[in-house]
């Protein structure tokens, strides 16, 4: 399984289903609203698509078919997201996808090269500084 950024999912919905063929995807539940907003802009502002709702319907079909699994917010995900955002200066919304991928030891699929760079840097950092189980438990307490 791979973590999908909203940009990757919008690309898959609009430009070709091949994006979704490789695997099943995981994403934070925030994705629904980001994809909705991107479809709204494509429809109402840029007039690239006649209506966003049929694409939104496909998004929910992706979820219903387990092609895309949404992860609800949690304290641990929010904490790791905040730490990455603090370290890198990137938006929390970028970092939640990165944190989810790191937490699950997964790759991140995104169209955004800046987000990819941050993910790769954080992955290297994660490998070298990941605390042991007992240290992690102590931190949580």
């Amino acid at each position: 399984m791979i973590v999908a950024d909203s940009s990757f999912v919008v690309e898959g919905l609009l430009n070709g289903q091949a994006e979704f063929e490789a695997d099943r995807f995981l994403a934070p539940d925030l994705l629904i609203h980001e994809v909705s907003n991107a479809l709204f802009v494509q429809h109402r502002i840029l007039h690239r698509i006649p209506d966003g709702l049929p694409y939104l319907k496909r998004l929910f079909e992706a979820i219903a078919s387990d092609s895309l699994i949404l992860v609800p917010s949690s304290r641990e995900l929010a904490r790791e997201t905040y730490e990455i955002a603090s370290r890198t200066g990137a938006a929390v919304y970028d970092c939640v996808f990165i944190a989810l991928a790191l937490q699950n030891g997964m790759q991140l699929r995104t169209l955004d090269s800046m987000q990819t760079q941050i993910f790769e840097a954080e992955k290297r950092r994660h490998r070298t500084t990941a605390p042991s189980g007992s240290e992690e438990e102590a931190r949580r307490d």
Partner: protein, 72 residues
């Protein structure tokens, strides 16, 4: 709970047993099979929808829109 019977070879049985109790492994395999079928069906329907409604949106534009929504 309904029961199903499936004839399999000794070799298939031996291979399945490597992963634990037979019933549990078969139930898990069925679950995976159905998930994959659902996924394939979704991909097929999306492909058909996209063929009927062709659009081509620039990838950089998609990134820009997402990025605008994420601005501090």
């Amino acid at each position: 709970m309904p029961t199903i019977s499936v004839r399999i070879t000794e070799e298939e049985k031996r291979r399945l047993l490597q992963y634990g109790p037979l019933s549990e492994t078969v139930r898990e395999a069925l679950e995976e099979f159905l998930k994959e079928k659902k996924r394939r069906q979704f991909l097929q329907e999306l492909k058909q929808f996209q063929a009927e409604h062709p659009v081509k949106v620039d990838s950089d534009e998609i990134v820009r829109i997402i990025r605008d929504g994420r601005k501090h």
